[in-house]
Symmetry: C2
Subunit: 136 residues, 2 copies
């Protein structure tokens, strides 16, 4: 069994969010719409994606500190240090972001989505349909 | 920027599910309880995890076919081939499983959870708290 799987970056986020410190913590907190620009070699995987679909975008939070196991939630020093597995901090051993968004448009390998808190250039790993109307 | 990030396996699933073909497609479909057995070097990340917590377990679906971009949903040949990004198929470029479960008990680095459809030995990548009571 592969002990250290290697991810394939299937695309990048195009967003006007460029400064991580200014990005909302969650898409529900005022994040802008953005484009998911996928690689041409995964185009077939998009065959059935349509405007209105609710999807979970998986990203690789490439600026994260993978050695961190305790954080102050939401970067608030007044909050006690908390084990990362009880937080949504980007800093964790495998910094995979989960972002629930709605598809606004699909143009070839470019997918326009609403409320995405990931910054410009964030690597994209996967898109999955949601299993419930309210999951994130 | 890292073009091909490498994942760190932080633990393994201990489950009586051993045959992928017999595993439910989703945890809500009669999956058994299971143990998440984490590595001792990530123990600090579990500091605040408690029974009753609703979490999302991220796994690496190591038996998946990463070259697949179209599947018959739920392995049902009567369903038309569908782009993988509109399905929850394990076969996709980055076979990361998302499993919403409830923590039943925490014993050191062993976390007992309900309804987990992952088979015995599945690598664990991350645990995150849910952001809504019904997400998966």
């Amino acid at each position: 069994m592969d002990e250290n799987p290697t991810l394939t970056i299937i695309g990048r986020v195009e967003s006007r969010l460029t400064e991580p410190g200014l990005a909302p913590k969650q898409g529900s907190e005022g994040a802008p719409d953005a484009w998911l620009v996928l690689r041409d070699d995964v185009r077939d995987g998009l065959a059935n994606l349509a405007p209105g679909d609710e999807i979970i975008v998986l990203t690789w939070l490439h600026r994260a500190d993978r050695a961190v196991l305790h954080v102050h939630p939401r970067d608030d020093p007044s909050r006690p240090l908390t084990g990362v597995f009880s937080t949504r901090s980007a800093d964790r051993p495998n910094p995979i972001g989960l972002h629930r968004v709605r598809v606004l448009a699909v143009d070839g390998v470019r997918v326009h989505v609403d409320g995405l808190e990931a910054v410009h250039g964030t690597p994209i790993l996967d898109l999955k349909p949601t299993l419930s109307a309210t999951e994130r």
